[in-house]
């Protein structure tokens, strides 16, 4: 009960802080939109490659961009942890009888919220520019669930890194050097069968790809829901493992104060 209440208080704090940074807010929402429209226009003709298997690139691309946005917003989320560490806010929470679990879960909830809003905007925009999602509402929900699980995972990794290294540079490096390649080592932009064999191999173990493929499958006319649910399960496992790692980082931070 206390854990729940504290999670709520801490979530509200983060959401308010987020809403108070209009530039950051605008960027978080605008960036995925720009990606969708830019990549959509740039690679429009890609569907003409024999064997691509999809008639509209924007339809193909949307789950890719939804997932990519989730990856990045999760990846950047450690920055607010660094802020809290630098300003002594975390230590103040620790000196108060704050529920320790809530200190981590209170960072997951805003992340899920951000992903849901981001995803809905992207899907709406995609529909407006001509994408079709025969999988319907159920498919869209499943895509968002997968994206949210993935963003929770990356957000936990990002927070863990922030707690261990306590430097903005480390979060920035992680986002720039890890997340972009992971996105390109998935089928976010290109049909998997057209990618080189070695990329296909790596993609099998890439959580980003799990989310893209599961989300795309769920949006198909008669998607393979066995495949979708299995991958959603992998993503849940990924999120749990990341959360455990973050918890360990949190404990090690507490020992180092």
């Amino acid at each position: 009960m206390i854990a729940l209440r504290h999670t709520l208080y801490l979530t509200i704090r983060q959401v308010k802080a987020f809403l108070r940074q209009p530039w950051y807010l605008a960027l978080t929402l605008a960036q995925p939109i720009i990606w969708l429209l830019l990549f959509g226009a740039l690679f429009k003709k890609i569907v003409e490659i024999p064997g691509f298997g999809s008639k509209s690139y924007i339809t193909f691309l949307t789950p890719g961009i939804v997932v990519m946005s989730a990856v990045f917003s999760g990846g950047w989320s450690g920055m607010s942890m660094i802020d809290d560490l630098d300003h002594g806010v975390m230590d103040r929470f620790l000196v108060a009888p704050t529920n320790r679990g809530a200190l981590m879960v209170g960072r997951i909830a805003p992340q899920v919220l951000t992903t849901i809003i981001q995803s809905l905007i992207l899907v709406g925009l995609a529909l407006a520019v001509g994408a079709t999602f025969p999988g319907g509402a159920a498919g869209i929900v499943m895509l968002i669930v997968c994206a949210a699980l993935l963003s929770v995972g990356f957000s936990m990794l990002s927070n863990g890194l922030a707690l261990m290294l306590r430097r903005e540079e480390s979060v920035i490096a992680a986002v720039n050097f890890i997340l972009l390649p992971l996105t390109f080592l998935s089928s976010a932009f290109l049909q998997q069968s057209l990618a080189p064999k070695w990329i296909q191999q790596i993609a099998k173990y890439n959580p980003v790809n799990w989310a893209v493929q599961a989300g795309r499958e769920a949006l198909n006319k008669s998607g393979d829901w066995g495949f979708v649910m299995a991958h959603a399960g992998y993503l849940l496992a990924f999120a749990v493992v990341c959360a455990l790692l973050a918890t360990r980082a949190f404990r090690s931070y507490q020992r180092s104060v």
Binding site: I2, Y9, R13, K16, G88, R92, P97, R255
Partner: protein, 325 residues
């Protein structure tokens, strides 16, 4: 009288190397202001972190408000308020939001919390800026908010880690008034750390001088100053004849602890400063030394610090700054 804080033999080593505390002990009487005085790196913040359960000692024991910090950390947290050196104000939130969240985390709600928060805002002169984001507050206002946050849940013991460092003189005087009021009117026990001798002298009933993780002297400001018998005499030399001046003073029975600063300032102690001055001047004149000025003063905590650590306070500060860089 009961003790609000009892800690003994605290040891804390960071990252296996830095020995932050080396057997520090401290006892604070309920309802009083106690100061830990020491230069940067002495171990003051580490002591506060241990007493507020943020950090665990490697050895030693401590109780606050009668509760063991290691065995009953949850209950200690409810009994203490803490204003850390690093602040703890969420600068993205308004003053009111900061206070409300703090109260919520201690399980306060509804009208009770609203009233408490409004009362604190009023008391610290923050009512008009309560709806502004703390980022826009001046340093003095942020520090006041900080203290108010430490008080929301009505703690029995308040820890203030360097509450006036970095404040302008006016804000500092404000804060001193506030601290004095807290113990006088509410019977709060306060442990404050400071590296301002003047602050400890002014606010604390008792104080410990901390150096390299240990207490080197403990007592009331007057007791500590009293241990230095007599008055401090400062002689400013007109020109660089320091060697001859020291020689000239050596035979005087009444004069002790002659030290030289910057080659032209002599510090010494005499049982009775007023009587010693003519004798000192005569001896210097006889030795052919020209004097620019002489002052006599009651010993300060500065002198106490010098006696116990063998370094002047400013020197210790400068060294600590070097080491921490």
């Amino acid at each position: 009288m009961t003790n609000a804080i009892e800690a003994s033999g605290l040891v804390k080593t960071y990252a296996g190397k830095v020995k932050a505390l080396d057997g520090l002990s401290v006892t604070v009487e309920s309802g009083s202001v106690f100061a830990l005085l020491g230069p940067n790196g002495a171990g003051k913040s580490t002591t506060v972190k241990i007493l507020t359960t943020l950090s665990k000692p490697d050895a030693g024991q401590a109780s606050v408000a009668g509760l063991d910090v290691l065995r009953q950390p949850e209950r200690v947290r409810r009994a203490v308020g803490c204003v850390a050196q690093k602040s703890g104000v969420d600068i993205q939130a308004t003053g009111r939001e900061n206070l409300m969240l703090q109260g919520h985390l201690y399980g306060m709600r509804g009208k009770e919390l609203e009233q408490r928060v409004s009362g604190l805002l009023e008391r610290f002169g923050l009512t008009d800026s309560a709806r502004r984001i703390a980022r826009t507050y001046s340093g003095g206002m942020q520090r006041k908010l900080d203290v108010a946050m430490g008080l929301v849940h009505k703690p029995q013991v308040l820890f203030l880690d360097e509450p006036t460092t970095g404040l302008d003189p006016e804000s500092r005087a404000d804060m001193w008034g506030e601290i004095a009021r807290l113990t006088a009117e509410e019977g709060l026990t306060i442990l404050l750390t400071t590296h301002y001798l003047e602050e400890a002298d002014k606010l604390a009933r008792r104080l410990s001088i901390v150096d390299e993780g240990r207490v080197v002297a403990e007592g009331s400001p007057d007791e500590l100053k009293g241990e230095l018998k007599g008055d401090a005499v400062h002689v400013e030399l007109a020109s660089g004849e320091a060697g001859r001046a020291i020689e000239a003073l050596a035979p005087l029975a009444d004069v002790r602890d002659v030290t030289l600063e910057d080659g032209r300032l002599l510090h010494l102690h005499a049982d009775n400063g007023a009587q010693a001055v003519p004798v000192i001047l005569q001896a210097l004149e006889a030795g052919g030394v020209n004097v620019a000025s002489v002052t006599v003063a009651r010993p300060s905590l500065d002198d106490v610090y010098l006696k116990y650590t063998g370094r002047s306070f400013e020197k210790a500060e400068a060294t600590a700054a070097e080491v921490n860089r």
